[in-house]
Amino acid sequence: MVVALRLVSVIAFVLLWEWAALVQISFNFPSPWATLTALVALVGSGAILTATATSLQSLLLGFGSAIVLGVPFGLLMGVVRPVGRVARVYLDLLIALPTAALIPLVILSFGINILSSAVIVFVFSVPFVTMNAYGGVRDVRPRLVEMARAFDASGPQLFFRIVLPSALPMILAGIRYALSRAFVGLIVAELLLSPFGLGRLIMASRSMFEHDRMFATVLWTLLLAGFALAALARVEGRLLRWRT
Amino acid sequence: MADVTAAAPPPVEIVVDGVSKAFGTVQALVDVHVRVRAGEFLSVIGPSGCGKTTLLKTIAGLIAADAGRVVVGDRIVEGPGRECSVVFQDFALLPWATVQKNAEFGLLLRGVPAAERAERARGVIAKVGLAGFEQAYPAQLSGGMQQRVGLARALAVNPQVLLMDEPFASIDEQTRRVFQDDLLRLWSEERKTVVLVTHSMEEAIYLSHRVVVLSPRPGRVHQVFEVPLPRPREGAGVRATAEFARLVDDLWKILRKLQ
């Protein structure tokens, strides 16, 4: 029943798309079939795979650094309260700030290259990684800390046996949310920078009026992000099996 | 002040006639027969999982029986009816509404005009001892006071039948005893038919005319236990009498065999 309803909604979406292409709601609005054909061609020629590899490079560089720097810093904020209180203010501002506004600044500082889009990915994702690591430490149940203290646990023991495992679910949730933000940043950066990656493929197709290729690339990008997020969610589920 | 009792219709009888109910593969009630006399205070007791609450909700029309029927007064129960009010174990108060608005809620749903609603609610709020708390929110009240609001809401619609689902379960012992006395006083003033689900033997004996003992899994009527204590019981030191202790002990002997 549930599966049937979900299937119905997917079919309805494809039909709607088909209809939109049929009545030409805009010039050069490709049909689902044309988009799929273009996608197959793009995969076949390898163009989309090269672009994906380039994009993933900056994603991994930026998102990886966000985790490597953000998690420890968030933990530090949680453990050393004065650091937390002050850094929290900047984090709140960074989270509220439409990060895309920083892109021109990043481009000016780092030039038009992969490093630039990696930095943008980093700026998009690091506030969420940090904030959740901090929140995770802050939300450790005081009862557990008390218990460990009663057993005369040392500082490092307290941190590694109680604080870190308690904070883990929130850290992982932050990482997953940050990945979705990282993709947003990556795409915006590439659409603006344009000389490489999936963004370039999208913009180039658009300027050549090859709308089927453009739609195909957009679809591919959304699927890629969806796949990456689902994979991360699976890893998360594995690591947090004790929660069930 | 509005006289809530003035228009009170006479209490009615409840007949539970061969009711069975299953949830999936779990048989909650099997062929349950109970007759609650008009104006009687009846308790239902039994080990956890014996279907006491299911029985109460079936009478309230919140759960449909698989077999058998429930008759309240001259109405065959097919859904919630106007004769019955329910008092819930977890109070079920609207957290966003004041005491006044919570007490008015049943009247609101039944289309009573605003002015009359407000007046009747004020009356029952005073009756349950919460005068002065009309504008408080549930979160600002203790558990005992919250349940008084639940009781006020139930009484505001002036029901002939009051159905109470472990109303004192999450209230501390001292508060509970005071509340029980108040409930007895209200009952003697209003003469409603009351069905009370409880897991406390003392409570069942202190409050009721009769106690229905349900056996667990599946729930059946195991025995109907008479409580011949004289009324009024409130404030009369009944709990301290040897008779009371003996009745509790007798009830315990029945229940122990069911465990």
């Binding site: 895309a100 506004a101 892109i103 999936l198 739609f215 990008t221 | 859904g79 819930f88």
Partner: protein
């Protein structure tokens, strides 16, 4: 959703922000990098842009798109969330899409919007809508689904019908979550506004960002970034004030 608790810009906040500005000013005066202009220079640039109308014109266009995108997103988002919360059929039809699109990089769809609408500010409003719609739906849905079953049962025991149940129990009980959705949604909406404007590079503050970036006007660039931040903070404060006004009982 990450832990985005209400920010309390109390004394710590003032000290932190003040400290940052002072250090920034000092670094700017020392001329460590062309990308760190003194705060005072940025303030002067901001004042000048405000005076010659550049900033007000751009902001007016931006806010117009923000309203045109966010209001429909709020109305439709709440409506869809309520329908999904109350009717299992609607929920199963839509939850796959909502969950997927909630975390999808919707910025990739902006070129599609451009293909649909052309290079016009409608694209910005549509981007705002896209960015804020799903978080509003999800929070509303969560709110409705989180309604205490005992409250529903209580209302039913007094004979409440579907309409009364909805208006008197489900809606008020979902309201705090709806308001949270709107708060998160409006922050997302401002992000959508900036992304949309930067990508069509035609009007609004987003276009100014691109322009000052391309022309190396660093102080002006910072002035626009500060304005965007100001709009985001104001919007979120407004949503918070509305939340407090409507949900007083918490």
């Amino acid at each position: 959703m990450p832990d985005v608790r209400e920010s309390d810009l109390g004394r710590t906040g003032l000290i932190a922000v003040g400290g940052l500005l002072i250090v920034w000013e000092a670094l700017g005066r020392l001329d460590v990098s062309m990308f760190v202009p003194p705060v005072t220079t940025v303030a002067a640039a901001w004042w000048q842009l405000l005076g010659n109308g550049t900033l007000t014109r751009a902001a007016a266009s931006s806010l117009g798109s923000l309203v045109k995108g966010f209001v429909p997103a709020a109305v439709l988002g709440v409506a869809v969330g309520l329908a999904m919360g109350r009717f299992a059929t609607v929920r199963h039809l839509l939850d796959g899409w909502v969950n997927a699109l909630m975390s999808a990089p919707l910025s990739a769809l902006v070129p599609v919007l451009i293909a649909l609408f052309g290079i016009r500010d409608t694209v910005v409003a549509a981007t705002v809508f896209m960015f804020s719609f799903f978080v509003i739906v999800v929070n509303t849905l969560t709110g409705v689904r989180g309604t205490e079953p005992s409250l529903v049962e209580m209302a039913r025991s007094f004979g409440a019908g579907e309409v009364a149940l909805f208006g008197r129990v489900y809606w008020p009980s979902a309201l705090p979550a709806v308001m949270l959705g709107l708060r998160l949604g409006v922050v997302q909406a401002v992000k959508g506004m900036v992304v949309g404007e930067m990508l069509i590079s035609l009007v609004g503050l987003g276009e100014r960002l691109i322009y000052y970036g391309n022309t190396f006007l660093i102080a002006e660039l910072y002035a626009v970034i500060a304005s965007v931040l100001l709009i985001a903070l104001t919007a979120s404060q407004l949503a918070q004030a509305l939340d407090r006004a409507l949900v007083r009982w918490k």
